[in-house]
Amino acid sequence: MAAVCFAVQAQDVTPPDVLVKNVTLEVIDIIRKDKDLQNDRRKVIALIETKVVPHFNFTSMTASAVGAAWSKATPEQKTRLTEEFRTLMVRTYASSIAAYKDQKFDFRPLRAKPTDTDVTVNVRVLQQGAESVKLDYDMEKTARGWKVWDVRIADISLTANYRTEFANIMRASGIEGLVNALHSKNAGLERAQPAASADKKK
């Protein structure tokens, strides 16, 4: 795993499918082994910040979720939107990975040409008594390696799913309204969750 980190830092580009597999398995392995971590959301979030976040392009993700209005946002609004959306995504990721840590994964080989700069990495989450769940990562090649710009769970694109919600909020109260809505959503989760996990530990 150290080798993977080193490879990324050295600008030696890890193929996108290998990257997804390594990062997923590493994070799941850490969560499974560390019982302490399972009861402490803050630690899970910290783990995701260091291991997963560097492989996401949250600016791209936010732009896709905001849609056409993105071009009307000021640079400062874009930064704040991205920051809030990133916080929400990291929290959602933390909940998901904790819930699905005991599932088996099937990492599909990449179907892309070596020259492609926009690819989809397919993963299957295997389940008992149900068809496997598709987990697709849309990734783009950047100067700093491959970055995820959308995640599709069972064909549900995360960024597309936020688009209508965001559009409704922006229609009512503008881009500022959306920044505020995301901010209070995150603040509400922040209030609710660390307290809950602290209770569980005692």
């Binding site: 791209s60 930064t79 064909d155």
Partner: protein, 256 residues
């Protein structure tokens, strides 16, 4: 999400339903063309949420807490095995004969070697489980979504999938089972098992959504689109928007 209810609870539910209908019809916002009945749907959604909070979720949580993991697996597999029969029929109606053979082979192996379906031996043999229903078949035949609909206890649907649902439940072997006592028990157990499997997902939804109604609706519509096209939907609204946001995004990311 949860399906089926029995006996004495029905009257109380009807009263709650009437209340939901009376209170929510006027609140239409956004004016989404896919959801012209948003006012009605939101009130149904509110009713379903209330039902889930008072009955669905507590029962499902208790089930998950009390019944050991392997036993819950048997229950899940038992009902999933019965589903394979009509999954096969729907694959046949969609012209996917190979998939039908798989579905019915799954049913044959699981019903016999898998002991009435409680063990999914077919998956271990490499026979992949599919997800099909009459709504997907109609979609495959070219039927559009029609307006989005939320039904009491059933949850998200649309006109096409509602028509499909009528056939799904008409042919449902569990609902056709006699005597009715066993049938009711089976329907409730199946609904409980399904809800229990969604406990984590619904908690994540709670966290992720700003407006749960909109989030769930859009997820349903995207999901059904994916299912109808067996996981290869033509890239439409879910793909990247225009060149402009992307160019902006790249400019933004190099700055960091």
């Amino acid at each position: 999400m949860a399906t089926g209810c029995s006996g004495g609870k029905v009257r109380g539910l009807l009263a709650a339903l009437a209340l939901a209908l009376a209170s929510g019809c006027a609140t239409t916002s956004g004016g989404d063309p896919r959801d012209p009945l948003e006012g009605f749907n939101r009130s149904m959604y509110g009713f379903n949420e209330a039902f889930d909070e008072t009955i669905g979720r507590p029962v499902a949580s208790a089930y998950k807490r009390i019944i050991p993991d392997p036993v819950r697996g048997w229950v899940r597999n038992f009902f999933a095995n019965i589903d394979d029969l009509f999954i096969g029929v729907n694959n046949l109606l969609q012209g996917k004969v190979g998939d039908t053979v798989t579905d019915w082979a799954r049913f044959a192996f699981n019903t016999t070697i898998g002991l009435a379906g409680i063990n999914d031996v077919a998956s271990e043999m490499g026979l992949e489980k599919h997800n099909e229903d009459f709504g997907q078949t109609f979609g495959r035949w070219g039927a559009g979504d029609g307006p989005y609909l939320v039904w009491p206890l059933i949850g998200s649907s649309n006109v096409r999938d509602s028509a499909g649902l009528v056939l799904d439940s008409y042919f449902d072997p569990v609902r056709r089972h006699e005597p009715s006592g066993v049938r009711t028990l089976a329907v409730v157990l199946r609904a409980t098992s399904k809800r229990a499997d969604l406990l984590d997902a619904s908690r994540i939804l709670e966290e992720a959504a700003l407006d749960k109604y909109v989030f769930q609706r859009d997820a349903y519509l995207q999901r059904r689109r994916g299912l109808i096209h067996d996981g290869n939907p033509p890239r439409g609204p879910s793909s990247r928007l225009t060149e402009e946001p992307r160019a902006e995004a790249e400019a933004g990311s190099t700055k960091q």
